[in-house]
């Protein structure tokens, strides 16, 4: 077991941030913490990287106890905080060399680990970190977190504020790192990134709602979801909410996702209801649930 969290609770001045969290991450696993802002993701990261002490419970990282073996953990983990935390007045290569030195290694020694990522930012290696774009900053931060070949990598919202292309690239990099045997715990507020993880934990208001593989979570979902559009989108949500057997409705991209109380209800009844309300060119069809649908339901 690479990370094992047992009944951890943490509160800031009586405001609970994490409540009774238990989760386990296997070695070489890409594990995602999925949840909105303020769910407690960063607090969990800080507990596991020994930056905070839990009020209750305990945990091990790379088989070291977070309460007693602080030094060992700090040598064994790589941590990339949510906020860009490198030296803005140092260049790419200076930042990397600095982090290599303080971890007692050199860039050359572990170059194979970061090569894929570093070649992408190498053309700018004499540029100051503060002058880099969001995507390049994240790549550099990842290089710096990897330079000492950590056993466990903690990435706190690494793709927040990064463009879609760079986000995709970033996740491909994580997959390659996983193949090299590094355990990765990554948090993200983006539900679409959840499917890229081996297993995910859905977390909200300091509580873990579900832990499973993304597919497992989708498969376990019982309700049928309909996607609906019409020519009057702004009225559609209001009208759907007044349908007698309405359970939930929310905007989802160009569609509105609708769930009925009755799982086997006749969609034609709904179609007629909408027609009667004056909607035209109605599309109403079943769709496969996504992590976001499930999250909204939890």
């Amino acid at each position: 077991m690479s990370i094992s969290v047992q009944n951890i609770s943490k509160s800031y001045k009586n405001i609970p941030a994490l409540q009774n969290i238990t989760l386990e991450v296997n070695e070489g696993e890409l594990f995602g913490l999925i949840g909105p802002d303020g769910a407690g993701k960063t607090t969990l990261f800080r507990l596991l990287t020994t930056l905070l002490l839990p009020n209750e419970g305990s945990a091990t990282v790379a088989n070291y106890n977070i309460l007693k073996q602080v030094k060992e953990i700090r040598n064994a983990v790589g941590y990339m905080p949510g906020k860009f935390s490198l030296y803005q007045d140092l260049t790419i290569s200076e930042n990397l060399a600095f982090f290599a030195t303080i971890f007692g290694t050199t860039i050359e020694e572990n170059y194979d680990l970061i090569e894929d990522i570093y070649v992408q930012i190498e053309p700018f290696k004499n540029r100051k970190a503060g002058a880099l774009s969001g995507g390049m900053k994240q790549k550099l931060a990842l290089c710096c977190a990897l330079i000492h070949k950590p056993k466990v990598l903690f990435l706190d919202e690494p793709t927040t504020g990064v463009d879609p292309v760079s986000r995709k690239e970033f996740w491909e990099m994580l997959k390659r790192l996983k193949q090299k045997g590094i355990t990765i715990l990554v948090s993200t507020p983006y539900m679409d990134e959840a499917t890229l993880c081996d297993r995910i934990a859905l977390i909200q208001e300091g509580k873990i709602l579900k832990i499973d593989t993304p597919q497992g979570i989708v498969d376990a979902y019982q309700k049928t979801i309909y996607e609906v559009t019409s020519n009057q989108m702004h009225l559609l949500i209001e009208d759907l909410k007044h349908f007698p057997s309405y359970y939930s409705v929310f905007a989802f991209g160009e569609f509105v996702h609708y769930i009925d109380l009755n799982n086997f209800f006749d969609s034609e009844t709904l179609r007629n209801y909408l027609k009667a309300k004056g909607h035209q060119s109605i599309i109403l069809q079943k769709t496969t649930p996504t992590i976001e649908d499930i999250f909204m339901d939890l």
């Binding site: 800080r46 990287t49 020994t50 930056l51 905070l52 002490l53 602080v70 030094k71 700090r74 040598n75 983990v77 941590y79 905080p81 906020k83 860009f84 935390s85 490198l86 030296y87 803005q88 007045d89 140092l90 200076e94 060399a97 600095f98 982090f99 030195t101 303080i102 971890f103 007692g104 710096c144």
Partner: protein, 368 residues
């Protein structure tokens, strides 16, 4: 050790790439020395004065010659009557008028007493005071010379001698003062700012989750400033010595050791400030309000401690700068050895240990 050196290298990058801190580090000491040396001074040179001589006899002329011969005064013009005094002052060019009464020499002969009035423009009280003192001493000097010649021993002749700084040069006061201020500024303020900057930018979070031990981080942050402060101390002392002719009567080695001690005191204070503040701005405010003002006002640099009200005198004891100024003055001007400044040295050592202890107690190896 390699980790430590890597850290120091990084720290120098920060300093040399930040134009503001470079200016504070090297521009300030030079600017302050020159400012205090040339502009802010109580000494007078070539002050324009006027003479109103009602008697115009040999005795008054002799005194006028003496005044003219001194470097402090320049006799701009001689005026005819008392009405002209007011208008002369209103023009503002002259700062004082010397008024000799009628029959000056005769009175001096017969009554052994004659009056010279020194009328000064006291809109600038310090200068007026100095002018009065200087003219007085020139006249007294003239009198005493005369009386010894005539073997006339009536009356008491006061002879004062200014020890260690016979010409009362203010430069001898401000070189130690500026040195103290600058070392305090560089060491305490710059280190506290540079440590809190890591907290503010979030890099402290990464440094904490690294094998670097807290004392390595702190030492790494502090070391470059020890080096820069020593350079600053050398620049200030040499400027005082070469440009303003400030003597260094005592041992240079002792001065260097005491300076390094004070630098360490200031650094430990800076570290302590950084442990209690989370942003650069708080660190800067605490340094400026909590350190700079007391250093300037309560250390005896500008205002003599002996003339402060008692509560202030008591408070001044906790200002490290006070003790360092005493040490520097003693070494440079009096040329004393360690045995005479042992008390002050020990106080600084004690303060350093206290601040380091408080910092260790307050230092957080975690985020809260």
């Amino acid at each position: 050790m390699k980790r430590f050196l890597g850290f120091i290298k990084k720290e120098f990058y920060h300093i040399f790439r930040d134009k503001r801190s470079l200016f504070i580090l090297f521009g300030m000491p030079i600017a302050q020395i020159l400012l205090f040396g040339f502009a802010i001074t109580n000494e007078i040179n070539n002050v324009e004065i006027a003479i109103l001589d009602y008697s115009k006899d040999t005795e008054s002329q002799k005194i006028i010659q003496k005044i003219k011969a001194s470097p402090y005064f320049h006799v701009a013009n001689e005026i005819a009557n008392e009405k002209a005094i007011e208008s002369e002052f209103k023009i503002g060019k002259i700062k004082a008028v010397l008024l000799f009464e009628k029959d000056f020499a005769k009175k001096l002969q017969t009554e052994m007493k004659a009056t010279v009035q020194v009328i000064t423009d006291a809109t600038e009280p310090n200068i007026a005071n100095t002018i009065a003192n200087y003219t007085q001493s020139i006249i007294q000097n003239h009198q005493s010379q005369k009386s010894t010649v005539q073997k006339n021993t009536t009356g008491v002749v006061i002879q004062s001698r200014m020890l260690y700084n016979p010409e009362l040069k203010s430069v001898f006061n401000f070189v130690p003062g500026v040195m103290t201020v600058i070392l305090m500024l560089v060491s305490a303020m710059m280190t506290s700012i540079s440590i809190t900057r890591e907290k503010e930018l979030g890099t402290m979070e990464i440094l904490l989750v690294s094998p670097l031990k807290p004392f390595q981080v702190i030492l790494g942050k502090v070391f470059p400033y020890i080096f820069l402060s020593v350079i600053n101390a050398i620049v200030i002392v040499s400027m005082g010595y070469f440009i303003f002719g400030m003597p260094i009567k005592g041992s240079i080695l002792l001065l260097a050791v005491e300076s390094i001690l004070f630098i360490i005191t200031a650094l430990s204070l800076g570290i302590f400030i950084s442990t209690i503040s989370n942003t650069q701005q708080t660190a800067m405010m605490i340094s400026l309000m909590g350190l700079m003002l007391p250093v300037i006002i309560l250390s005896g640099f500008i205002f003599p401690i002996a003339s402060m009200p008692l509560p202030m005198q008591v408070i001044s004891n906790i200002i490290p700068a006070k003790w360092f100024i005493i040490i520097v003055k003693s070494i440079m001007l009096k040329g004393v050895g360690l045995e005479y400044i042992l008390k002050e040295t020990l106080i600084l050592v004690g303060m350093t240990i206290l601040f380091i202890g408080l910092s260790i107690k307050n230092y957080k190896t975690r985020l809260e």
